[in-house]
């Protein structure tokens, strides 16, 4: 299964809203699910949400240039047998807006008590396009 990931359209709105200071919720709530729907920028939730979300830790990290990367880490513990196929970040621990979604390259099979520590690295790259 090929993996894909994207900051979705609503995630872009979250970014610009935070840049102008209107958004109050930070997109650092980690979720996983068992759906296999393709990743699209129009996604607004996971295909099949699984366990309750966990509030992750958000930091600035460096991939190419200083602090060019938004990093969120969070660990979710399985409360039963699970076959994890997707994950995402939301702006709230229960409701909120989907910011980023990923479809996993391979299913992660878990049983009760297993946990997954997910790290999301969202690097922002920039290029200037000069029009004549």
């Amino acid at each position: 299964m090929p993996s894909t990931a994207a900051v979705v359209n609503n995630g872009l709105a979250t970014i610009t809203s935070r840049l102008i200071g209107t958004a109050t919720n930070v997109p650092h709530h980690v979720a996983w699910g068992t759906g296999t729907g393709v990743v699209a920028v129009t996604n607004t939730t996971l295909t099949e949400p699984g366990e309750a979300r966990t509030t992750g830790t958000a930091t600035q990290a460096t991939t190419t240039y200083t602090s060019d990367t938004h990093r969120v880490t969070g660990t979710i513990v399985a409360t039963g047998t699970r076959a994890i196929t997707e994950c995402g970040l939301f702006t709230d621990v229960t409701a909120g807006t989907l910011y980023c979604r990923g479809l996993l390259a391979a299913t992660i099979n878990l049983t009760t008590g297993d946990s997954v520590a997910l790290t999301f690295n969202i690097q922002y790259t920039s290029s200037v396009i000069t029009t004549p």
């Binding site: 993996s3 894909t4 990931a5 994207a6 900051v7 990743v39 991939t63 994950c87 980023c100 990923g102 479809l103 996993l104 390259a105 391979a106 992660i108 878990l110 049983t111 009760t112 008590g113 297993d114 946990s115 997954v116 520590a117 997910l118 790290t119 999301f120 690295n121 969202i122 690097q123 922002y124 790259t125 920039s126 290029s127 200037v128 396009i129 000069t130 029009t131």
Partner: protein, 49 residues
């Protein structure tokens, strides 16, 4: 002038089993474009692909 900002998402996972066994799965999802062989890139550019 247009400034094009494109997020590159890379998601990694580490599984800790109930018995304490740790499995580092590495990158489990990304939208990063795979690097192609530089020679193939040059040939593709010459061919106009």
């Amino acid at each position: 002038m247009t400034v094009n900002v494109e997020p590159v998402v890379t998601i990694t996972a580490i599984v800790t089993r109930a018995d304490g066994t740790v499995e580092d799965l590495g990158i489990v999802a990304t939208n990063r474009k795979p690097r192609t062989n530089p020679i193939r890139r040059i040939i593709a550019r010459i061919k106009g692909i």
